[in-house]
Symmetry: C2
Subunit: 116 residues, 2 copies
Amino acid sequence: MPQKSAAPGRLYDNAAVFAALGDATRLRLVARLCENGPQSIVRLTEGGEVSRQAVTKHLRALEHAGLVRSGRSGRERLWEVRTQRLAEARRCLDQISEQWDHALERLRSLVEADSR
Amino acid sequence: MPQKSAAPGRLYDNAAVFAALGDATRLRLVARLCENGPQSIVRLTEGGEVSRQAVTKHLRALEHAGLVRSGRSGRERLWEVRTQRLAEARRCLDQISEQWDHALERLRSLVEADSR
DNA sequence: AAAAAGAGCAACCAGGGGGTTGCTCATAAA
DNA sequence: TTTATGAGCAACCCCCTGGTTGCTCTTTTT
């Protein structure tokens, strides 16, 4: 069994990741970073609806959740996606769905035993 | 450019789903609903850290995001998970990761062409 | 050396979200 | 028919979040 002590505490962490993705602007930022690779703040601001400062704040939020990271290059700072956390989030959803499937199975076997 | 009009609007919808999952209490509720099947509010409140009203509010939030639904049974209301939205959320994450992979490929071929 | 571009910082504001308490309503159990 | 259980509604509170504006700092560019 993978991920033995997937520890209830882990769930909390994933909540933070989902919260970070739970904003349209941030989700768009992540998508853009994935589509076009590492970019500067100004570039990420272009075409968007919010100010540069807002974008900065969102990037910091994403960084806090471990979804992006940045590094300075000359006078600009480049941001890139950290795919690991994304993968973890996916696994979390997978696990939940899996539990649901198990529950369904259990339920079905109960019904069968009942009508037998 | 791939993914022509994958409708930016879709992204927004997923943000709502992630936002719903982006709270530890709600995420736990979803997990419990998946583990133990449809349950009433009082049952979902047991063992938790918050009041029944809080649970109710969270359930409504999840309902708004399309993640759960409910039906009355006698004097109690049973809540169950709607797996469809969960699946959609997963697909959203998959798409994003996929775009990232494509970007990596593009980048790699660029580098190769450059050093050739 | 002067001008412009990219970022960072701080203060401020409005709104929403999570939580609670108190009361009422309806249905099932005694 | 009482009584107790499960749930709904409404008001209220606090604080966090998303967004803005204004200023400063550093690094290019001209």
